[in-house]
Subunit: 253 residues, 2 copies
Amino acid sequence: MNSTGKLSIQKETAASGIKDTGDRHRAADDVFRYFAARINSGDLKDGEALPPEREIAETCHVSRTVVREAVLALSNKGLIEARPGFRPVVRKANYDTAFETLDSVVSRLLLQDGGVKNLFDTRIMVEASLARQAASSAQKDDLLTLRNALDANQDAIDDSEKFYETDTAFHAALYSIPGNPVFPAIHKAYTAWLSPQWSMMPRLPERNRLNYYAHKAIFDAILMRNQDAAEQALRIHLAAAWTQIEKTFADQM
Amino acid sequence: MNSTGKLSIQKETAASGIKDTGDRHRAADDVFRYFAARINSGDLKDGEALPPEREIAETCHVSRTVVREAVLALSNKGLIEARPGFRPVVRKANYDTAFETLDSVVSRLLLQDGGVKNLFDTRIMVEASLARQAASSAQKDDLLTLRNALDANQDAIDDSEKFYETDTAFHAALYSIPGNPVFPAIHKAYTAWLSPQWSMMPRLPERNRLNYYAHKAIFDAILMRNQDAAEQALRIHLAAAWTQIEKTFADQM
DNA sequence: TGTTTAATTTGGTCTGACCAAAACAGATTA
DNA sequence: TAATCTGTTTTGGTCAGACCAAATTAAACA
């Protein structure tokens, strides 16, 4: 029975005919697709655990080896969460974790020439856009959130550690205004990827104060519903930040 | 000698002490990190093939099983390219392929409520920003590229197949203006992820013509260096596209 | 020298085994 | 009865050795 097992799966996959175009057939891929489909279709719900590897192997008529490969692929692609030693659990599709799967590639991209600048420039563009949008359509509670973040920022001028947090929080508030969950995820990714540069920069109360003023200028422009001013204030703010980064890492870039 | 192999690696990893904080130790992770580091450091150059699995297993004092897991992880994260049956090859860090690693997660995200809209909204924001930037600082050759794309677009109005291509090309031209390689990659990702919706929409010469006029309006505004007009023209264009998408997929969203 | 053929390498898969941690069930105790 | 401890079973992580088919290389041949 076992000896015919392998053949049967090959027959099955051939019958399903998803990819019959002559290219190499890997059993692991089939298992991967099988579970990816079951997850996407909702057959396997969020938080639900996958069957044990041995069971999968039996039902799919493959060895545990290929099951492990498939599970690993599922995990690497963020479809499941496989903490070592635990049963893999279906993970709800989540914007935050989506960006996390980029970590290793991005860290490589940041290493190559101009990598950091390329990324930072996209950030400038995104935030400039967010600033405009905030100025044009921020709701009352959005403004309140911003104001609170700004105040917390001001209070932390003399505590560089705390200032960094409130700084991040202020920008985060900006990203949350559109109400689109993609943006907070983008912000999280930016802070994670650029934190190496940021955290190595000298932190001084004077500099904190300047940054606070920059934030205030952005906020004021948003409050005045002045899109152009908001964008400009933000660009000045981030341009200054970039100058700092450049100065700090002059040798490495 | 082999019997002591396993112990030696454990000793080694313990000695290196990268992660000694009590959490589970997976040999596969060690091998993964080892090669990720070698790739990032340039020790293994782009296009260079990894050693054969059996050799890695020997030099790292682990079984081929864990080598395979590590290689698979490397592949899934986009650090190497592992075509079935071939030696894995170090892949140059590349913005395009970075986004490709997101495919499976994104396809899941698009399935959930409002997923497509969330993504499309980010696209609107990005392109609005690009339009502004184009209007403010497009160079002569940028304008020429846009103009050519626009003309090709016009010529293809009666050929819906070709129109789709030239349409994409026009937007691509917009993404290439900043000269930041991240943007073309983003564009590629957008078209890949949203193509299912787009390709199922009815294509008619009248509609093509409307889209062409929309493109022309964007181009004209850019040519006039009118940022606000460029942004507005683009927003109108994409809003109309979204309306179409919504109409086509009314039942599924 | 170019082409065909045989030998070898190498990735993909299988089987069966072992270990340690996790999950489970049962006994023990408060 | 509820909480805690304990021993058994399950399960993931790893290993070893084997086989196959495709890919690579070496050899033989034309």
